[in-house]
């Protein structure tokens, strides 16, 4: 489907990114919210608390807790009894949840959680990169990444729909860049209750904790059965690939807004150089691509919306005819000198006929700004790769040599 984004100025208001997310959560009719405030996620939970205090979220309980570990643990119980459950966190808060993340996904509880992406300590840093959520890659959660505040608002409703699908039943993280998106004021259409009610039916799970009809969730699984639990989680992720596309298409039909499904493409059709990235840097890359295209340079963008499940086939289809693929990562696997998107993109070309050079850049760590010039340099280096092959496979951008 061709990307469309109807700009309906009449319906737009200028609000903070965090407000539009909180508004979306409210409109999605959650039954239980539990979260612990942490910068830069704080404005989301403040807004939700305000909505609760004003009686604007009916049939919902907001559980105050003393830590992120408790926040997510509370939602294990809530989701298991059939409540639509939501949390939001970032950085150290998400890392503290690590153990519970596995519990939620292993019990197949479709909790939706906003992750406002922030660097992890030490050294302490409250600014944006994506190390926090990328480090939770293997916990069995769906991970979606948004480009701007409208996509964040809309993706929140899509996440509930995908997670709660009876053929999926996996928790979902909706990830968005801290400060850059959480604290930006820009025009956005706030989700409308009547449309969301059509889009997102009430959560009606087949299996719930109920004393009248006792069942066990997450009970002991010995070696004779544990493997099959894992197999079924992976199978559900496979199903989610299609459900993510479906959720985006259905959303477009009702709301007239579309940002891609698993991925989105920008000027990729005839592109020699294709840049791959996730999150708010996408907008900056698009501006640079427009400038390069006006000079006749064939540069395109592959935006990855879904990092888990990883859209191998969608990516392969887009990049197969490119001459260079450049992957940007706001994270690093220390000891491999690669970002996760880069590693995984490379790996999905192996054992195939695709033989396109792939280079990686680790970029924007700990809030280091990404000006257009940084993207310009990366494109220039990609042109060198086209003419004379790969010199450096994976590297940091904008290293301040004088500090080393």
């Amino acid at each position: 489907m061709a990307p469309t984004r109807n700009v309906n100025k009449e319906k737009m208001v200028v609000v903070e990114g965090s407000y539009s997310i909180a508004h979306s959560v409210k409109i999605c009719r959650p039954n239980v919210i539990s979260a612990y405030p942490i910068t830069p996620q704080t404005h989301i939970v403040e807004n939700l608390s305000q909505f609760m205090a004003d009686g604007e979220i009916p049939n919902c309980e907001y559980i105050n807790v003393e830590s992120e570990f408790s926040a997510l643990s509370a939602l294990v119980g809530a989701s298991a009894v059939g409540a639509r459950s939501y949390s939001a966190t970032t950085s150290q808060g998400l890392e503290l949840m690590h153990e519970v993340l596995f519990n939620v996904s292993g019990m197949r509880l479709p909790v939706v959680m906003t992750v406002i992406n922030r660097a992890v300590s030490a050294p302490i840093n409250i600014w944006n990169d994506q190390q926090d959520s990328i480090s939770q890659r293997d916990t069995g959660w769906i991970q979606l990444y948004a480009e701007d505040t409208q996509e964040m608002a809309d993706m929140t409703a899509q996440a509930f729909k995908i997670a709660e699908d009876k053929d999926v039943l996996l928790p979902a993280m909706v990830c968005m860049d801290g400060f850059i998106l959480s604290h930006v004021y820009e025009p956005v259409v706030l989700l409308e209750q009547d449309l969301v009610d059509k889009y997102l039916p009430a959560y009606n799970p087949e299996f719930v904790l109920d004393p009248k009809n006792p069942k066990s969730f997450g009970a002991f699984a010995d070696p004779s059965t544990y493997t099959e639990f894992r197999f079924l989680q992976e199978k559900a992720m496979g199903v989610a690939l299609q459900k993510i596309e479906d959720a985006a298409n259905e959303f477009n039909e009702l709301f007239g807004r579309y940002y891609g499904g698993l991925i989105d493409e920008y000027d990729t059709e005839d592109a020699d150089i294709i840049i791959m990235a996730m999150g708010s840097v996408i907008g900056t890359i698009k501006d640079v691509i427009d400038a390069r295209r006006s000079k006749g340079e064939k540069v395109g963008l592959l935006k990855v919306r879904s990092f888990r499940p990883f859209p191998k086939e969608a990516i392969k289809k887009v990049v197969k005819d490119a001459k260079v693929v450049v992957v940007l990562d706001k994270n690093i696997s220390i000891g491999l000198n690669e970002g996760a998107l880069f590693t995984e993109t490379k790996s999905c070309f192996y054992n195939t006929k695709i033989d396109v050079p792939v280079v990686g850049y680790m970029i924007g760590h700990g809030g280091r700004d990404i000006p257009m010039g940084t993207i310009e340099n990366i494109i220039d280096e990609a042109k060198d790769v086209m003419s004379s092959g790969i010199k450096v496979e994976s590297q940091f951008t904008d290293i301040r040599e004088e500090l080393i």
Partner: protein, 182 residues
């Protein structure tokens, strides 16, 4: 696209001013984006906030390095921050001060304009809070935005008497800037 950088100190409402400017610009029919310089907020420390205003959707997410317009809330910042950094040659730097523009020897080709927003704020609002008042100066100096749009945005954010007083001060400073330009 026009890019605006606001310099202030923590607690002076620079971020609020950037946000109100974005709200007002959108009301004027433009697209807008406002964001803070993501500092660790400490009262009194130098801070920056940014606003972009454009006829089309704004996608760029970097900070602003070559502003068309600079607003300086507190003249003591000139000693510690290069407020003219990257300012476009045909740009305007608006400084809140009682002194004339010639007083300031900034390394820039941008036009320097000054306004004693603190005095106006004390006279009309009764407190030396100039963030909203300076938006009136911005409207007058640049013509990028209608003063009424700023007043409406301020009154919506600060309902009642506070908003009314701010709107009055905005008008006063706007008129002063228009006279300076004439």
């Amino acid at each position: 696209m026009k890019e605006i950088r606001i310099h202030g100190r923590g607690g002076q409402g620079s971020v609020t001013a950037a946000e109100l400017l974005a709200v007002a610009a959108f009301a004027d029919g433009k697209f807008s984006q406002a964001f803070p310089a993501f500092g660790v907020e400490r009262r009194g420390a130098p801070v920056q906030a940014f606003t972009r205003i454009s006829d089309s959707t704004i996608r760029l997410r970097s900070q602003i390095y070559e502003p068309d317009y600079v607003i300086v809330q507190d003249p003591t910042l000139l000693e510690v921050v290069d407020v003219a950094s990257g300012a476009k040659d045909d740009g305007i730097i608006i400084i809140n001060t009682e002194f004339a523009p010639e007083t300031f020897k900034l390394e820039t080709k941008a036009t320097i304009m000054t306004v004693d927003a603190t005095r106006i704020a004390l006279d009309i609002i009764g407190r030396p809070i100039v963030n909203t008042v300076l938006l009136g100066a911005f409207a007058g100096a640049t013509g990028e935005i209608k003063p009424k749009s700023i007043q409406d945005a301020v009154k919506e954010r600060f309902p009642g008497k506070v908003g009314e007083k701010n709107a009055e001060a905005i008008q006063k400073v706007y008129d002063m800037m228009m006279e300076t330009k004439a």
